[in-house]
Symmetry: C2
Subunit: 471 residues, 2 copies
């Protein structure tokens, strides 16, 4: 399939159809991504202000066979927003479509445009005494459209699910420019194929999400947070089971962290106050939100007492104030930034079945040690079996010397994940970074079906070419 | 697309590839459906014992262009399992594939074959002290494969979601006979397009689900059930909001019922004991399951006291024993059977946004009254906005005289649902019954995309032709 670059003729055709504010300047930020691994290219930046304008862009790009790269908050970690190859594309930014179109607190539903910033959506929900639970480190700049396009995960998946689980309906532009009007505010709707879930997680390669009907939740009546030192990842899993036994669905987050993460914080972000005098090898952050009549601190104390008794925890801190809760969370939420400041040789966003998490960590560490004197910072969403298993150069050494081994490190980790029934793309998506991994580890029948679906919905291959599937 | 009938030559080709037990006799039951509206046809009944055998059937049918109709428990209400037109198909029954392949209680996961009966799956979960929450009236004969193919809803959707929300992965045969190995036991897996959710709800028209990895849940520590008389559907919705405020995610079911349902029970199933001396116009069944340390009866009493105070309930019964809980549930679960015994003129499985439920009922009743002296039994899963709005002949009259108006009744209800932003197919699916409705009310861009997907994955149109999309 031949794609065409943005030509002056194409631009003047667009100018005839779209109002002036749709045309923006491609400042450097649009061509960069958080890890600094790639630099993108763009023939034109378009910022539609309405769904109809977005549809016009896609329809005209379809007609002219010009590639379109959807651009949300630019926070993606797998290069889905960065076109490095092929003709310089139209960069289609949703930044002007950020309205909350409606909130129905009595239905627990909000309809928001794709360009709305995640934290603004959370605030809007909070304003009507509701919770929109999706939360990720990049929540201050990530847009909900991108969250849905990549099926973002984050910190509250254990209780509330991934982005796709939080979406009741979408409005989207299909690759031929048609508008899919699917913004129904329904909890049950079995009327044909699940186009919503097909577009969610397709990373802009099957269409452009322009708005979404989102699930809200009653705010828990009271919340609590604890840090508990655990003897091992295995004990952490048993502690999670015990916590579920105590608290049912009341557990909002259950995050595993390793001493390496604390060392990185010490090294790069000394302002983040560490809650432990002696750094523990492994510890968990437990966040709970309870219904009326329950006391979170009391519940966490009871849990800790039993965990101590059963040898599942050796030390624990229960937040006594909102400030303390925030301080505990600051540790967890600063670790990704500390990782970036140290600079990984290779980062891995993986998931494995819960019962092999502990074995995976042990075998992974052994395999990495066999490759060299690496430091591993393994942390993540334990309740989801989702670990960020990130590999760094030894303390005091520059990563430059080790980057040559990046592919070997990645292959070692990913082979092990695959062998243990896991996924090498848990919550960050495939983007352009993991296309080869998908080809290597993906199910062949699924890959054939995906290619057939891509060809059927986007026969000219204009939508985010090179993402998920080779262009 | 021309499809071929099952010929003696095709049968002998199959006999050469498949062991004897795969070949079954087409007894009348396979050609009937619960509402007795259609009678099906079958050229051959095949009952594969393994995934590979099922793949052989589909591959050979693909090669010979012979239609394949997947058959689960035969409990579907929209004719998805009944082929009335075209060449007599292969009926592909999963009845011999009913193994639970594995249970991982510590992961809250079970892998079961598609032919496993829903109640057997629930029992298997219960055997390891876990809950598989999907429950529908037909649970004793419905198979999990059919539940997934139709994205079944049922009584616990409010808390645990639809069938699709309870599935982590599937194994399936694609229309060309390839096996999609997607049985991963992962909570997070963003590795490509969501083929799982595309097949779930496609009612066998995009492939055949042969096994599924299912989510289990910790059993609530204690459970409770109440019936509360409400002044109106609107009050019932406010009561639900109040219940959520009291109990958070602890509410497992919230079912609205009308006096007509009780009258039907009186008339056709006098063994079902009615809990009210004076039949109320509207009442709800509330089922809760709580974590450790909470007392369900106490929680329901507190809820009732506040509801009474706020005018949201006028009478209430709180189950004091398991026998009473079962008696309350028997009322709700017997209503569909009572409806069948009375025999509806037209039944409607619809959903609307929660905030218009009450308005929908009022306007629907008015519109139906304008058509004739019908009785309406409106009941259902209020928390999901999912109502079964069923229309019956007047008391003492045979429905025969009214059946001629069936299309007008259906059209009246469905037009109103569509106008109010709802779905005319909430939890039962489209099947062959609602193909025209989908064409009338469906989003045109979605329908085009669905046809493109069908053509891409099943170019010969062999999989359940005529279901969802016109064959």
């Amino acid at each position: 399939m031949t794609l065409n670059p943005v030509t002056p003729e194409f631009v003047s055709q667009l100018r005839a159809q779209l109002p002036g504010p749709c045309f923006g300047e491609v400042t450097p930020g649009y061509l960069e991504e958080p890890r600094g691994r790639w630099r993108g290219q763009a023939g034109l930046l378009l910022r539609p202000g309405t769904t109809e304008e977005a549809a016009t862009v896609v329809r005209m790009a379809h007609e002219a066979r010009v590639p379109v790269v959807p651009y949300g908050g630019g926070t993606g970690l797998v290069g889905g927003q960065i076109a490095t190859e092929g003709p310089a594309p139209v960069l289609l930014s949703l930044e002007r479509m950020r309205a909350v179109r409606g909130i129905w607190p009595e239905e627990n539903v909000m309809v928001a445009e794709a360009g709305a910033i995640l934290s603004d959506i959370r605030d809007a929900a909070s304003g009507v005494d509701r919770l929109f639970p999706l939360t990720i480190a990049a929540k201050g700049s990530a847009q909900i459209g991108g969250n849905l396009a990549t099926n973002a995960g984050g910190l509250n998946v254990l209780r509330y699910g991934n982005a796709r689980d939080l979406c009741l309906g979408i409005e989207a532009i299909l690759p031929n420019g048609e508008i899919f009007h699917g913004l129904k505010r329904l909890r049950k709707d079995n009327s044909g194929y699940d186009l919503r879930n097909l577009l969610i997680g397709s990373e802009g390669s099957l269409g452009l999400i322009t708005a979404a009907a989102l699930k809200l939740f009653p705010k828990p009546s009271s919340e609590g947070t604890a840090l508990m030192v655990v003897p091992s990842p295995e004990a952490a899993l048993s502690l999670l089971a015990l916590a579920r036994d105590h608290l049912g669905e009341g557990i909002s987050a259950f995050e595993l962290m390793h001493r390496t993460g604390l060392e990185f914080l010490n090294e790069t972000m000394p302002d983040v106050r560490l809650p432990f005098a002696d750094l523990p090898d492994w510890f968990v952050l437990i966040d709970i939100g309870l219904a009326r009549g329950l006391d979170p601190a009391g519940a966490l104390e009871a849990l800790f007492a039993e965990a101590l008794d059963k040898g599942l925890a050796s030390d624990g801190l229960i937040a006594q104030s909102d400030a303390q809760r925030q301080a505990f969370w600051a540790v967890r939420e600063s670790i990704p930034e500390a990782n970036r400041r140290i600079g990984s040789v290779s980062s891995h966003d993986i998931s494995v079945p819960l019962s092999v998490v502990s074995d995976f960590i042990a075998r992974g560490n052994e395999a990495i040690a066999a490759l060299g004197p690496y430091r591993v910072n393994c942390f993540g969403h334990l309740g989801d079996g989702n670990l960020h298993y990130n590999v760094f150069a030894p303390m005091g050494e520059m990563r430059g010397a080790y980057v040559a081994q990046r592919d070997a490190v990645k292959r070692t980790v990913h082979d092990l994940v695959h062998q243990m029934g896991g996924s090498v793309s848990a919550e960050h998506g495939v983007g352009r970074l993991k296309v080869e991994d998908l080809e290597r580890y993906g199910d062949p029948a699924k890959l054939s079906a995906m290619r057939a679906i891509k060809a059927a919905l986007d026969p000219r291959g204009i939508m985010n070419p090179g993402v998920i599937l080779r262009g």
